[in-house]
């Protein structure tokens, strides 16, 4: 069987499963103090929508205009040796190691985009304060394979007590990213581990 056919059938099956499961549900995240999974807290000055997809726990997914447009992903609770995402059996898993240096953490996110053939370009990587301590901020661009859309992203990452904590915000370069990135930046500035 060709991989093309396998992908097609897998996509069809995934769609059917989501449909049967009642698809995703959305919950409003109001402004003010917010605690996610009793672990990650924020003081938000803008409301977000949390999208819960059945069968998918990580990352926690927030959006302003819908996940097909923009997505703020919250990664936490990832311990040494754990993979960030499920990868096909013929792909090397993207595993976090607590000893990773900042640029290696960014490499994990590069790897996620690379899984479907999207191109990732690192635009800037610099030290930054995150979770109230040392971390990195990375600005990047992605040419998304699925729809040929250029998206812009910004991320923050730090290793705290051996655990990976990261946030990424992505949206199409034109319009949506400039409209919402400041909200993501302000959320990141208030992020704290509990």
């Amino acid at each position: 069987m060709t991989a093309t056919l396998r992908h097609l059938l897998a996509a069809t099956l995934a769609t059917a499963v989501l449909t049967l499961a009642g698809c995703a549900n959305v919950a409003k995240i109001s402004t003010g103090e917010v605690v996610v999974d009793n672990r990650l807290s924020f003081t938000l000055d803008a409301a977000w929508n949390q999208v819960n997809i059945p069968g998918r726990n990580k990352p926690v997914l927030w959006t302003q205009d819908g996940i097909t447009v923009d997505a703020l992903e919250l990664w936490f609770g990832i311990k040494d040796g754990q993979a960030l995402v499920d990868t096909p059996k013929d792909k090397r898993p993207l595993v976090f190691k607590a000893t990773m240096a900042p640029h290696e953490l960014v490499g994990l996110f590069e790897g996620i985009y690379g899984l479907d053939g999207s191109t990732f370009t690192l635009d800037k990587l610099a030290p930054a304060t995150f979770l109230g301590g040392p971390g990195v901020r990375f600005d990047y661009s992605v040419l998304r394979k699925t729809d040929d859309v250029r998206i812009t992203g910004v991320g923050w990452a730090a290793v705290k007590d051996g655990e990976l904590v990261a946030m990424t915000f992505v949206a199409p370069r034109l319009g949506f990213f400039p409209r919402h990135v400041a909200k993501a930046e302000r959320a990141a500035a208030t992020a704290r581990l509990r």
Binding site: M1, T2, A3, T4, L5, H7, L8, L9, A11, T12, T87, P88, K89, D90, K91, R92, P93, L94, K97, T99, A101, P102, H103, E104, G107, E110, G111, Y113, G114, D116, G117, T119, F120, T121, L122, D123, K124, L125, A126, P127, V136, L143, K145, T146, D147, D148, R150
Partner: protein, 387 residues
Amino acid sequence: MSLSRRRALAWGCVHCAGAAGLASAVPIPPDWQLPPRLTRPEIDGDEGGLWALVDREETRTRRSAFVLRDPALREYLTGIACKLGGAHCADTRVYTVRTPYFNASMAPNGMMQVWTGLLLRADNEAQLAAVMGHEIGHYLQRHSLARLRDARSRSAVMGVLAFAGGVGLVGQLALLAGMAAYSREHESEADQIGLLLMRRAGYDTLAAAQVWTNLRDELKAGAGGDPAKRSVMFATHPGADERERDLQTLAGAGGGFAGDAEYAARIDPLMPDLIDDELRRAQFDESIVLFTRLAQRRPTRGDLRYARGEAHRLRAQPEDAAQAQAEFTAALALERPPPQAQRALGLLHRAQGRRAEARPHLQAYLQLAPNAADAALIQSFLDEPLP
């Protein structure tokens, strides 16, 4: 267009050819003649519909930001397609698509796509011609139309059975197995035609088996193991070993044009991007096999030794640090070491706690690439006090 729809339009994917076996295919005679140029079918038939679909896909491809806008490269690749396809050259349009996987395809309307991962992996023009000849074989035999008709008829049958009830998993498996067998015949036919076209164009026919062997060695090192053993269906059909043997038998004594220098002249300017994209796949076991082979073929190239070392460094297994350090050191003594080799060696020393040894390499990197995306982070490492 949805992902699944676009994937369905990946006509005649070479990488996916899997373990086609020539033994079960109808032999193509040595005096096989190219069919006449294909004419645009009437729009109201299934073939006309298929062409309309791929015409739309070509419009999208033409505009895609993934397509390399490199007239010289396009002319070179079109030239290879024309040497192979003869009169069909007039109907062939080649697009180079930036995707770091081994693949090429040719749609029924003459649109050929060559992925950059294939350009990185081919050793010479003859190997690339082997893959392109295979795809032209699919095109000349109009395999995608036959595949469409087969898929449609099977879907119709399955629809009837499903309506009657009781099909379920067994029915799905039967559908898949039928398609797998069907595809293998076409892959075998395309292999034979591809070799014939290579021979007539004067290429070294041994390149066809070699490109397949190289790919298999690479994939074997990856997380999925030997591609010939990944699937129950592949295991019950003629395997990759048989395909390699048959290609070698059909190739005969080989000989002919390999085109090492011509190929290198066209592809080398792309090499920094090809290396970066390959490393970003994060499939380091496969990349190490690939870059080891490329570095052995071209031992004076510092960029290939850097790439091999970087794959080791990023894989970060216990034995990788020493291997990476050796590769970076070697790269810096060779031709064309990229600035990233200094960066990588500096980061490696730093990760091993040798900050004093890291400094000159990180400083050299910033001198060579002051506007690098990670310059601020590297500078912050240099600003750290030495222990």
